[in-house]
Amino acid sequence: MNARDAILARVRTALRDVPRDETPADVEVPRLTAPVVPDPVGLFAERVADYKATVVRCTPAELPDRLAEALDGVGRLLVPTDLPPDLHPAGPELVADTHLPVTALDALDGVLTTARLGIAETGTIVLDHGPGQGRRAATLVPDLHVCVVRTDQVVGGVSDAVAALDPHRPQTWISGPSATSDIELDRVEGVHGPRTLHVLLVG
C-alpha cells in the first residue's frame, strides 16, 4: 500500500466511532454574531497607527501632496506596471516592476501600491496582488512601503474581509511594519519586511 492509501486507511480506522451516516454538516458549528463597528474608517486609521505605521488621511485632491511628503527623500521608487497613472508621484525616479530580479528590488528605496481592502477591527491591509498592488516580492524586498487605501475599501471585521476575498488569489495581510519580540519580548519594528509602512487613507 502506498503512503497515501495507508494514511487514509489509518484515518478511517481511527474514526471507527464516528457513525457511518454522519455528515460534516451534522457537526454543528455555532453561528457568530457580527460585531458592530460604528466608524470603520476612523477605527482603521487608529488601529493601523497602533502598530507604529504612519497613517495619513486625505481627500483625493490632497493626495499628490501627501504622496510627495511620504516619498520625501526617496530616490528610486518601485511601482507596479499597472499602478493607476494618477497615483504616479512627482519627485522620485519611478522604476516599473517588469519582473525585475530580486537583487534589483533590493537596490530600490521603496515601493508604492494600492490595496485590496482594509480591516478596521484589526488595522490590517490586505493585498491580493491584483491591479496596482504588485506581485508579492514587490511589497516585501524594498525597505519602505507606501500604500494607498480608499476609505470605501475599509471593512469592519475579519469576517467581512474573508467574505470579500477570493481564496484563489495569493494574499498578504499586513498589520503594521514587520516586527519581532524574540529578544526578551521587547518589540522591535522592522526585521525582514519593509521597516517603514506608510498608509495614505483617501476619501
Binding site: N2, A3, A6, I7, R10, V11, T13, A14, L15, D17, V18, T23, P24, V27, V29, P30, L32, T33, P35, R47, Y51, H99, V102, D106, T122, H129, R135, R136, A137, L140, V141, V158, S159, V162, A163, P167, H168, R169, P170, Q171, T172, W173, I174, S175, G176, S178, A179, T180, S181, D182, I183, E184, L185, D186, V188, G190, V191, H192, G193, P194
Partner: protein, 516 residues
C-alpha cells in the same frame, strides 16, 4: 557543540545534582532528555532561565488578556473554532482527499508521508532534484518534530532557519524552549555573544560594534539573512492552516522571514500535519481571529501569507505540499485524546501554566512543550516505551488554566488524567518503568505539598517515596528530597487523581509562586 552551550551546560551541572538536557555534538536534540522531574529540577536551579521565562510569560499573558477582552464574542469564536476542528477531524479522510484534489488542480504537487523518515526523504529528494546545497526555512514545529534539518544535513544540504528566535537557537546550537518564542531562555547579552561569535561562520558576520539593544540585534539578523533569502532556490515551510475546499495554505508570522521564504525562491515545500486542515475558506475567519490574539496577544500579527498552489508570474513556480501523519492517526484513534489535534499552536496554554513558568520548555524533552506537549507527545509517541514520555502526563497540577485560555477549548486536564491511566495500564506488571512517572507525580504534588491540606496526607506515602527515590536516583543520590505525596492518588490513578484541596493556581497566587 558551541562554546556557549558548553559553558552553560557546565554551569548548570555544577549547580544541580542532575545533568541538564543539552545539545549533542551534531546539532541539538531532545533525545536523552531525562524524565520531567529530573530535567525540571535542573531547570529550576537555573535562575537566569527562570527570570527570562517569568518575564516573558507574564508579558504575553497580560497582552493576551487585553486583546481578548476587546472581543465581545470571544466565547462564540472559541466554540466555533472547536466545532470546526471537530468537524474536520471526524471527517478527516473526506477533507484530506478534498485538499489533495484542490491542491493538484491549483498546480501543486501533493506528497503523503506516514512518518518522519518518509517526510524527510521527500523533502531531501526535491531539494536534490534542484541541485542545491541549502534551503531557507520558516519556523515550523512539524519540521522540528521530524528532525528535517538533521536529515538535510546528512544529505549535505544546509537548512537556514530564518525566524529570529530560531536563528538564535540554531547559531547557539541550542534547543527551542517555547512554541512561540523559542529563544525565550536567552537574554539580550547572550544573543549578542552568539551573533558575534557564530554569524561569521554561517555567512555574513555581525558588525563588530554590535550592542545588545534588541533593535541592533534584529538589524544584524536582517543583514545576515538577506543574502540567503535573495539567493535561495528552495524554501521549506509549515502551514498554520490548509483549506480543504480550495487548497489554500496560510502562514502566520511577524518578521517577514516567512514572506521571504514563501515568495522569493523558485521552489516551495510545505510540510503540513494532517490536523492542520479546515473545511472551507470562510472558516479561516474564525481562526484568523483566534490565533493572533491567543498567541502573541495582538489584534493581528504583522504578516499573514496565503497561497493556493502556483500563481503564474508571482512567487514559487514549483509548489509541493507534504501531508504528514507521524503518529497523528494514533492521536485521532483515541476518542478522549483526539481533541488535542484541534491545537492551533498558539502557545497560550504555556504562558498560563504554573509548571511551565517554573521549569521552562526544555524540561518536557519534546518538540511540543508545556501543557499541550504533555498530552500530545505521549499520544504521538505512545506510552509504555520511554520513561521520559511516560512522565509527561504528570507534569501538571490539573489546575485548568490551560483549558480556560485555549482558543479551541482543548480540555487538557481531561486528557492528562486519561493518559495517566494509560501509563498505569502500560506499566502493569512492569514496575521498572514506573519510577519516572512516580517521580513526576511526586514532584508535582510536592509543589502543592506546602498547603496545610496536602501536609495532612499520609506519612507512609512520603516514606515510601523517599525509599523509592533513594533507590532509583542515579549515583544513589536523592533526586527530589523527601516529599509528602498522596499515595492514594497513585493507587486511584485508574480513576481520577485526587485534586489538591486548594487548586494549584490558588496556592500559586496566594504564595506568590511558593516564595511566601
Amino acid at each position: 557543540m558551541s562554546e556557549l552551550a558548553r559553558e552553560s551546560s557546565t554551569r548548570r551541572s555544577a549547580r544541580s545534582a542532575e545533568p541538564a538536557p543539552r545539545a549533542s555534538a551534531r546539532g541539538a536534540t531532545f533525545l536523552g532528555t531525562p524524565p520531567f522531574p529530573t530535567a525540571a529540577k535542573a531547570a529550576l536551579a537555573d535562575t537566569q532561565l527562570r527570570r527570562n521565562l517569568a518575564h516573558a510569560t507574564g508579558t504575553i499573558r497580560g497582552k493576551r488578556a487585553a486583546v481578548v477582552a476587546e472581543v465581545d464574542n470571544w466565547e462564540e469564536l472559541r466554540l466555533a473554532g472547536a466545532a470546526l476542528k471537530d468537524r474536520t477531524l471526524r471527517h478527516l479522510d473526506t477533507y484530506l482527499t478534498q485538499l489533495e484534489t484542490a491542491l493538484t488542480k491549483a498546480g501543486a504537487t501533493v506528497h503523503w508521508a506516514g512518518d518522519a523518515a518518509e517526510a524527510n526523504r521527500i523533502v531531501v529528494d526535491i531539494a536534490r532534484a534542484h541541485d542545491t546545497d541549502e534551503v531557507v526555512k520558516v519556523k515550523s514545529m512539524a519540521t522540528v518534530e521530524i528532525g528535517l534539518n538533521e536529515a538535510l544535513a546528512d544529505a549535505g544540504i544546509t537548512a537556514w532557519e530564518t525566524d529570529l528566535a530560531e536563528l538564535i537557537v540554531q547559531l547557539g546550537d541550542d534547543l527551542p524552549s517555547h512554541i512561540l518564542v523559542p529563544a525565550i531562555h536567552r537574554n539580550r547579552s547572550e544573543v549578542r555573544e552568539i551573533f558575534l561569535r557564530e554569524m561569521g561562520r554561517a555567512g555574513k558576520p555581525a558588525p563588530a560594534d554590535l550592542t545588545d539593544e534588541p533593535a541592533r540585534l534584529a538589524a544584524a539578523a536582517r543583514e545576515h539573512l538577506r543574502e540567503k533569502f535573495l539567493r535561495a532556490k528552495v524554501a521549506v515551510s509549515g502551514a498554520n492552516f490548509a483549506v480543504a475546499e480550495t487548497g489554500t495554505l496560510a502562514v502566520v508570522e511577524s518578521e517577514g522571514n516567512g514572506r521571504m521564504c514563501l515568495t522569493l525562491p523558485e521552489v516551495l515545500i510545505s510540510v503540513v500535519g494532517i490536523e492542520k486542515l479546515v473545511p472551507t475558506w470562510e472558516d479561516l475567519d474564525v481562526f484568523l481571529q483566534l490565533l493572533p490574539r491567543s498567541s502573541t496577544g495582538e489584534r493581528m500579527n504583522p504578516y499573514t501569507s496565503m497561497w493556493t498552489g502556483v500563481t503564474p508570474g508571482d512567487g514559487p513556480q514549483e509548489v509541493h505540499v507534504v501531508l504528514l501523519d507521524n503518529g497523528r492517526t494514533d492521536v485521532l484513534a483515541d476518542e478522549v485524546g483526539r481533541q488535542a489535534l484541534r491545537c492551533i499552536r498558539c502557545s497560550a496554554c504555556l504562558n498560563v501554566c504554573p509548571v511551565y513558568e517554573r521549569t521552562g520548555g526544555h524540561s518536557y524533552g519534546s518538540v511540543y512543550p508545556g501543557p499541550i506537549g504533555a498530552i500530545l507527545t505521549p499520544m504521538l509517541r505512545g506510552v509504555g516505551h520511554d520513561e521520559q514520555v511516560d512522565s509527561l502526563p504528570y507534569a501538571s497540577s490539573l489546575c485548568g488554566a490551560c483549558f480556560e485560555v485555549c482558543p479551541v477549548r482543548i480540555d487538557i486536564p481531561e486528557v492528562l488524567v486519561h493518559l495517566r491511566s494509560q501509563v498505569v495500564d502500560a506499566h502493569r506488571g512492569r514496575p521498572s518503568l514506573q519510577g519516572a512517572a512516580m517521580k513526576a507525580a511526586s514532584w508535582m504534588f510536592g509543589r502543592s505539598a506546602r498547603t496545610a491540606a496536602a501536609e495532612k496526607l499520609s506519612g507512609l506515602g512520603s516514606r515510601v517515596l523517599d525509599r523509592t527515590v533513594r533507590r532509583r536516583a542515579p549515583g544513589g543520590r536523592r533526586a527530589l528530597g523527601s516529599l509528602p505525596w498522596p499515595v492514594s492518588a497513585w493507587s486511584d490513578a485508574r480513576d481520577t487523581p485526587v485534586p489538591p484541596p486548594e487548586s494549584f493556581r490558588a496556592w500559586w497566587s496566594r504564595t506568590d509562586g511558593g516564595r511566601r
